[in-house]
């Protein structure tokens, strides 16, 4: 599986990410995006074990639990998300350095911009911004 130029995100999941980001201020919030190919079907909030306004890490045991949750729903882990409480929605040097899974989407929600952007990172650490197609609930239900 490799990430593509666009990603489909239900508005409800984008809204939930924004809500989580605000709820976990001043710290960064984080989670997984589960779905099929480039379509997100499920957001899985994760605990930021760093509990920091400037950094986040997942707990490995929770990662495997999230993998199980996704798999049981017939989905794959296709991306992660985290918030930037006080900086724009773009990949920081640290985000790029730690983006080692080139098959994943990396979503960033900026609290100050109120904006969600999604990126991919290749093995040479080139960053590409993916077009986010927000899917409203009514269309999603069809």
């Amino acid at each position: 599986m490799s990430a593509s130029e666009s990603i489909i995100v239900p508005s409800s999941i984008a809204d939930a990410i924004a809500k989580q980001a605000n709820a976990e201020l001043p710290n960064e919030a984080c989670g997984y995006l589960a779905g099929i190919d480039n379509r997100v079907e499920l957001g899985i909030p994760m605990r930021n074990v760093d509990a920091s306004p400037e950094h986040f890490s997942f707990d490995p045991a929770e990662q495997f639990a999230a993998l199980k949750t996704a798999r049981e729903a017939g989905l794959s882990l296709i991306g992660t998300y985290h918030s930037h409480p006080e900086t724009p929605a773009r990949m920081s040097e640290e985000d790029i350095r730690l983006a080692v899974d080139t098959s994943m989407y990396y979503a960033i929600y900026s609290v100050i911009e109120k904006k969600l952007k999604v990126f991919t990172v290749d093995a040479a650490k080139n960053v590409s911004e993916s077009r986010v197609e927000l899917l409203d609930a009514a269309r999603n239900a069809r």
Partner: protein
């Protein structure tokens, strides 16, 4: 040897450690990977010493982390894969 890797049936030849398996699966940064075998997380220091056994259920996931400091520019916007 029959094993399950990330939920899919697979076979590996002969004796193999977790580290060997990660290399076989082209994992570029084994030190950035968490491995679980039969529901138990394998400590990174033991990747080279832990042998894969018949019917093992092996999962591996990349470390996920980042930070909002040092926001940098997108160098290759629009490049798809």
């Amino acid at each position: 040897m029959n094993v399950t890797i990330n939920g899919k049936n697979d076979t590996v030849d002969g004796a193999m450690t977790v580290l060997d398996l990660l290399k076989l699966k082209d994992v570029e940064a084994p030190d950035m990977v968490s491995v679980q075998i039969n529901g138990e997380i394998v400590e990174k220091e033991k990747f080279g010493a832990t042998q894969i056994a018949e019917n093992d259920e092996i999962e591996f996931l990349y470390f996920m982390g980042g930070g909002s400091r040092s926001a940098s520019r997108v160098s290759c916007a629009g490049k798809g894969k």
